[in-house]
Assembly symmetry: C2
Homo-oligomer: 280 residues x 2
Amino acid sequence: MFKKIAIIGVGLIGGSIGLAAKKKKLAKQITGVCRHESSLEKALKLRAIDRVTLDVNEAVKDADLIILATPVGTFKELVNKISKSAKTGAILIDVGSTKEEVIRTIEKVLPKRVSFVGVHPMAGSEKSGVGFAKPDLFEHSTCVICKTKSTHKNSLNKVAKFWKALGAEVVVISPEEHDMEVAQISHLPHAVATALVGSVDAKSLRLASSGFRDTTRIAGGEPVVWADIFLSNKKEILKSIDRFEKVLNSIRGLVKKQDYKGLIKEFGKNKKIRDAITKK
Amino acid sequence: MFKKIAIIGVGLIGGSIGLAAKKKKLAKQITGVCRHESSLEKALKLRAIDRVTLDVNEAVKDADLIILATPVGTFKELVNKISKSAKTGAILIDVGSTKEEVIRTIEKVLPKRVSFVGVHPMAGSEKSGVGFAKPDLFEHSTCVICKTKSTHKNSLNKVAKFWKALGAEVVVISPEEHDMEVAQISHLPHAVATALVGSVDAKSLRLASSGFRDTTRIAGGEPVVWADIFLSNKKEILKSIDRFEKVLNSIRGLVKKQDYKGLIKEFGKNKKIRDAITKK
């Protein structure tokens, strides 16, 4: 599908893309770039990439597909380098968790000869690092591809084909839709999970069972990654927190009033929605 | 360990106790009581119990250990029946998720000849019904046994031995401590999970991935069971929601101020706490 792929940031996502692309034979050569030499060595050993470099320009210069898989906060600096070194006709994708601000920033600086498509694979883990990468991470997952008025149709199709080949179901939406929906089903849950952990007495944790563990699992995510996400999707995250608080507040009201039927109705309505997700 | 055990309410917990007690040979005979004949037939088929009856008095009259495993809201009526039929020296335990109010109510009406111990096995699932029961549900779980000034020491020891034999680690605390701690690590997470589901647009659910699924799993719990719990642990649940809201509010404040370092610090502090639970 591609002759040469460059993956910048060989962590859980970057590493899994490499493993999956090699397994499915989607590229002749995959080059990995990372700030830490130790991660690159690990990635080579795991065969997530074919060759390594610490130099972005070197990795990017003859790549047909460039994949930006570092934390969102590092994009600006990296895209400046890519703008200088990428060849004409190269496709650049990012796999960041927020899209509106990211896409706006990248589209502004990237030269016309490179085609950019914003992507968000809805797969991952609270774990980080290439050590947790796996070739089937994207199987049966959803991959969001963002379309803007600048998006090149052929590039979008090629990127969609790539993600389908990695095992994902592709959804094409606008960056604005993406950020609103993901604020609700990913960023808000993270805010809530971390707040849950932060509001419990240390002593009470001795009774924590699978319910607490599952509800708070994502609070184990990388703080830097999540701080990046929260600032780059600020508006939608604040809206989601406000909405959540209203619902929680109404539950508190039902408890205060000892409204048994009201609680059953509220829990029942949400159970129905939750049960439908499991069945999917 | 016991000649005859009566399990009132053969659902996920009651059924699992039956299966585990039979596997570990802790009783000669286990009788199951249920309101629905279909559940009893299923329980018999699964061999969670040896014999069935729809009549509480009949099941209870020669039992050495009586286990109350129905929703908390049904306890009062059932304890009235048990008070009349249980034999001298019988031990009654409940497995309800809230303890202070439950224990106060039961200790008030139960005659001296029956010895009561309040228990809360911290194991389960959002699934309900004997169909999901399994003999190893309590292996490596924590079982809280509540001690009050009326608790009979010998009975408490016997009950602790029973739960250890079922595979649980036993923690003996007061009903007040139990309700406070469980409000934080079980009831608050339920309020938060159900509010999360209730605050998300239907359309956004198409992007829901493992993070959302895990964070909201317990919102699939039985509405009646949870409404019972919320009203019977009202005071502590309201306190927990207030504390949670303060933490969430401070996260919202950090996002509003775009305080990157503050967010990293807050997420990092909670990640550390969460990571320690996984390692346990």
